[in-house]
């Protein structure tokens, strides 16, 4: 090959790189390892993290994934293809994405869906930017963002929209119900905002009065941006049917639809909207069309919104999305069907109810908010939440998410979740361990030495 090129040594191929810039041997990088040694290393690493019993939700949920989902998703033809730029050689991916768009729009009750964004939080940032561009009634770049929304989502939105001078105004929550505080909201009724963000369920697991909130937003010339758990949509009123006209944009974390917990990713963000807003939508969209013989086929469409065509005038800079996760979600939704998803949602709801009942039977453990929840609940402990979680973790139970950092006003509060995978033994296991942890912390420790 070198002779064909006409050089004597492979180094000659780098002759346009100035010698002064060349690096040496990268000593700090370990030497290569054969597969069996890497395998041993990774097995050891995976083992030391254990597989604790998990009652944490807070944006990532442990659900059963049918075996066929990842068997199919990791087929080389899905796993190692790229963005379907050559439509004729990518009909598999393109049709699958069209089917995904069909399923998401059915689940959310809206006209259009894109083919995915990175995750739920960054999808909300894109939804906010979309609302600022798309709200013709508002000249403002201000958004109402409730404190009952996931704290990490609020941070991510801030990071992403800050440099475009979008202003995020926080709305408080009601201390008794955990719902968006209507009095606080009313204070902004006379001001110009592009959109109101409405979570369902909210970060506390509580179900917001979405109909009233959506109508309120529309009454005040704002768009309604729904942030939902897609699994909850199998059981709850879909965002497209909220209030008189439905929400305008709906986004969220797709993880509950077939993505394993896997330390937080890859998951995928979904984004749906009314048909009116489709030209403001970021990311890939697939359309059905015909070929020269009139045969049905699928292609990337409305590409004039995207960076590879519009460059600095694109709706977003997104290029690579989360295609493989959407492949898994499409197969997941197909296998579960509406009935299956509804059963998973109902079982998770019921299990969290059982968990709440079991834990609140312990002295000093009480629910913080009244009202209906989806599959998470805030509980107050009689001991320091952080200490309780550490003690439980030492016994291989992850007892929930400590709310005291983001919501210090709630005291020693935990956000707990029991999906359909946590059975009665698991719940009893948690209850028994929490009981012992509370006892050991509440009791005065024995003194080894008398203090006289």
């Amino acid at each position: 090959m070198l002779a064909t090129i006409g050089v004597g040594h492979i180094d000659a191929l780098f002759d346009e790189i100035p010698m002064a810039l060349r690096c040496g041997e990268l000593e700090a990088i370990p030497p290569g390892m054969p597969e069996m040694e890497v395998s041993r290393l990774m097995q050891a690493r995976a083992r030391i993290d254990g597989q604790p019993l998990c009652f944490i939700g807070a944006g990532a949920y442990d659900h059963h994934i049918p075996a066929a989902v990842w068997e199919l998703t990791t087929r080389g033809e899905f796993y190692t293809a790229y963005t379907p730029y050559q439509a004729e050689a990518s009909q598999g991916t393109l049709q699958l994405l069209y089917e995904y768009q069909s399923m998401m729009t059915a689940l959310i009750g809206m006209d259009v869906s894109n083919a995915s964004l990175y995750d739920g939080a960054s999808a909300l940032a894109e939804a906010v930017l979309m609302a600022v561009r798309g709200n013709r009634k508002s000249k403002s770049k201000r958004i109402l963002l409730p404190r009952s929304l996931h704290p990490a989502y609020r941070r991510v939105v801030r990071t992403i929209v800050r440099n475009q001078r979008v202003e995020l105004v926080e709305v408080g929550y009601d201390g008794n119900t955990g719902l968006i505080d209507r009095e606080d909201l009313e204070k902004h009724g006379g001001e110009d905002f592009a959109a109101l963000v409405i979570p369902q369920p909210n970060f506390f697991g509580v179900l917001e009065a979405v109909d009233g909130l959506t109508d309120w937003a529309h009454l005040h010339g704002m768009l309604a941006i729904a942030v939902v758990n897609p699994l909850a949509m199998a059981m709850l009123k879909p965002a497209g049917e909220w209030g008189e006209q439905g929400a305008d944009i709906c986004c969220g974390e797709g993880q509950p639809l077939g993505a394993p917990l896997a330390s937080g990713g890859p998951y995928f963000g979904f984004l749906c909207s009314t048909g009116k807003l489709v030209r403001q939508m970021p990311g890939r969209i697939i359309g059905k069309t015909v070929d020269v013989d009139g045969k049905t086929g699928y292609a990337l469409t409305l590409q004039a919104r995207e960076q590879h065509i519009r460059r600095s005038k694109a709706t977003s800079n997104i290029c690579t999305n989360q295609g493989l996760m959407v492949t898994a979600a499409t197969i997941h939704m197909t296998l579960m069907g509406a009935e299956g998803l509804q059963r998973v949602a109902a079982a998770s709801h019921a299990n969290t109810g059982k968990l709440t009942q079991a834990l609140t039977a312990l002295p000093g453990v009480e629910p913080v908010f009244e009202g209906a929840v989806f599959h998470e609940r805030v509980l107050r402990l009689p001991i320091e939440a952080n200490k309780a979680l550490r003690a439980l973790a030492a016994h291989n139970v992850l007892g929930g998410f400590d709310l005291s950092v983001d919501y210090p006003e709630l005291g020693d509060a935990l956000l707990v979740c029991a999906t359909e995978l946590r059975n009665e033994d698991d719940i009893e296991n948690y209850r028994g361990k929490l009981e012992r942890v509370i006892q050991s912390q509440v009791q005065t420790p024995c003194r080894l030495k008398p203090d006289w």
């Binding site: 699958l96 409305l302 019921a350 550490r390």
Partner: protein, 482 residues
């Protein structure tokens, strides 16, 4: 269409809880009144349908896929198998540090490996893809200028040949994107750069080797010019595969870079993603790196968050980015090791230069014939388009008939009728020779029976699609069978 297999009441029964419960404590007006229209099929029907769909794709596992600027190299199976170990798949992102040491060790070591191989001072792994890495990088440039109250800087310079994400990312960070022309030799037009630089310059975004497939020879001079004007240099890592272990962006004078792990570190492209776009920085941008990052005190690993890093540009995703992609990249890096990294750039450059030479010998025109190809190169089919009326798109579609995925077409925009070809290091010589033969055959067809090429593809599941109709008569979701 999966919905066409659907029959009322049919289910893959084994997949959901056997009993159903009514959530009576949820008020009726909050509940759904009708079920969403999802497919109602058996497990076997689903498996058959999606298996058949997969077979309509070209992929690295089934075809030569020389898609320029995308680095479609083989994705070792071990990376997927080991990243899918139960302990890794079941770990909750908010699990306490006591139950995360194995996972965090992998991320920490990956940070160190990427730091070393790029010559940067520090790395944050969190960006979910290249474009998010670009966003993070430009946002850090902005944070740096803002911290110095140097707020008149309003422009990011990008070469006219840059990826579309570059100007789009600059705009997302509140900057104006200003284009710099490329010279006839493929290097950036230095005189034009000098004219464009000024007190309004926040920075420049460059890919090196550039998107025209050659190494920017005057990179040191460019870095000096930009720095002298008070701007910073951003390195788009799309083409890092070409120089891995040979030359490092940090040594070229770049202040901030992103890497595409789904390219250079061989994580799968997945039909459009997920990727991972870690960012690396020089010392002065270190405080602004996005969170979370992993720290190690010699005995324990822990997360660094907003509290530890108050000047950070912040968080880009709810958790820690595409963790599973990072784990795959880490496994790939450990398999390769330092020698393997040198081989990546050597063999990808060897393959590209060999393929270019053979194609030139077969009568094709290189866009920059006097230059050494990097890991990719551009052919221009101007002559064929003019003389035979057969253009680049026709060649691309005909390649599909011969079982080869088309190279990138009509990018970069400044070379007319261009094909951007990136064979990658994992293709054998025989596969490259086969590609040359196919290109030679298509050229002959273009000369003797041009209609065959202009009507291609002939053997795909569909022929050329009506894109105009797709955009005009929008059909974006199944509405039911008529």
């Amino acid at each position: 269409m999966i919905y066409e297999h659907s029959r009322e009441g049919r289910r893959a029964t084994a997949q959901a809880p056997l009993e159903t419960t009514e959530a009576t404590d949820i008020p009726a007006e909050m509940r759904r009144s009708t079920q969403p229209r999802l497919p109602q099929v058996s497990e076997m029907q689903a498996v058959r349908h999606f298996t058949r769909l997969s077979q309509k794709n070209f992929s690295i596992d089934t075809q030569f896929y020389p898609l320029g600027s995308c680095t479609m190299k083989y994705n070792p199976r071990a990376c997927n198998t080991l990243a899918s170990l139960p302990g890794l798949l079941s770990r909750h992102p908010l699990a306490p540090d006591t139950h995360s040491q194995g996972f965090m060790a992998c991320l920490y070591e990956l940070q160190e490996i990427l730091q070393t191989v790029t010559g940067m001072y520090a790395v944050s792994l969190t960006p979910a893809a290249g474009a998010q890495g670009e966003f993070a990088g430009v946002a850090m440039i902005r944070a740096y200028h803002d911290a110095r109250e140097d707020s008149a800087r309003s422009e990011i310079l990008v070469p006219d040949a840059a990826h579309g994400t570059n100007p789009a990312s600059a705009v997302m960070c509140g900057y104006k994107a200003r284009e710099i022309p490329t010279g006839a030799d493929g290097d950036i037009d230095i005189e034009a750069l000098k004219t464009a630089l000024g007190p309004q310059t926040a920075g420049i975004m460059l890919t090196n080797p550039s998107t025209v497939g050659v190494f920017e020879r005057r990179i040191k001079e460019i870095a000096e010019l930009v720095h002298a004007a008070g701007g910073l240099l951003y390195y788009d890592g799309a083409n890092l595969n070409a120089i891995l272990g040979k030359v490092r962006p940090g040594d070229m004078g770049f202040d901030v870079i992103h890497m595409n792990l789904h390219k250079t570190f061989s994580t799968p492209h997945g039909g459009g993603g997920p990727g991972a776009g870690p960012v690396g920085v020089g010392k002065r941008l270190e405080p602004y790196l996005p969170v979370p990052m992993v720290d190690f005190d010699g005995s324990d690993y822990r997360w660094l968050t907003e509290e530890d890093r108050p000047d950070s540009i912040g968080r880009l995703s709810a958790f820690a980015g595409n963790a599973g992609v990072l784990i795959r990249a880490y496994i790939y890096a450990r398999l390769l090791g330092r020698e393997g990294m040198h081989r990546v750039s050597e063999f990808s450059t060897l393959n590209a230069n060999y393929l270019l030479k053979r194609l030139m010998d077969a009568g094709f025109d290189a866009a920059y014939p006097e230059r050494r190809a990097s890991h990719e190169f551009i052919l221009t089919l101007k002559k064929q388009a003019k003389e035979l009326g057969v253009n680049t798109m026709d060649f691309a579609k005909r390649l599909l008939d011969y079982g080869v995925h088309a190279p990138t077409t009509y990018f970069p925009l400044l070379v007319s009728e261009c094909l951007l070809v990136e064979p990658t290091e994992t293709e054998a010589k025989e596969d490259l020779d086969n590609f040359v033969e196919i290109m030679r055959t298509i050229k002959q067809e273009a000369e003797n029976q041009p209609e065959t090429v202009k009507q291609a593809p002939h053997t795909m599941p569909v022929r050329r699609l009506d894109d105009v109709r797709a955009a005009r008569e929008l059909d974006l979701a199944w509405k039911g069978s008529e």
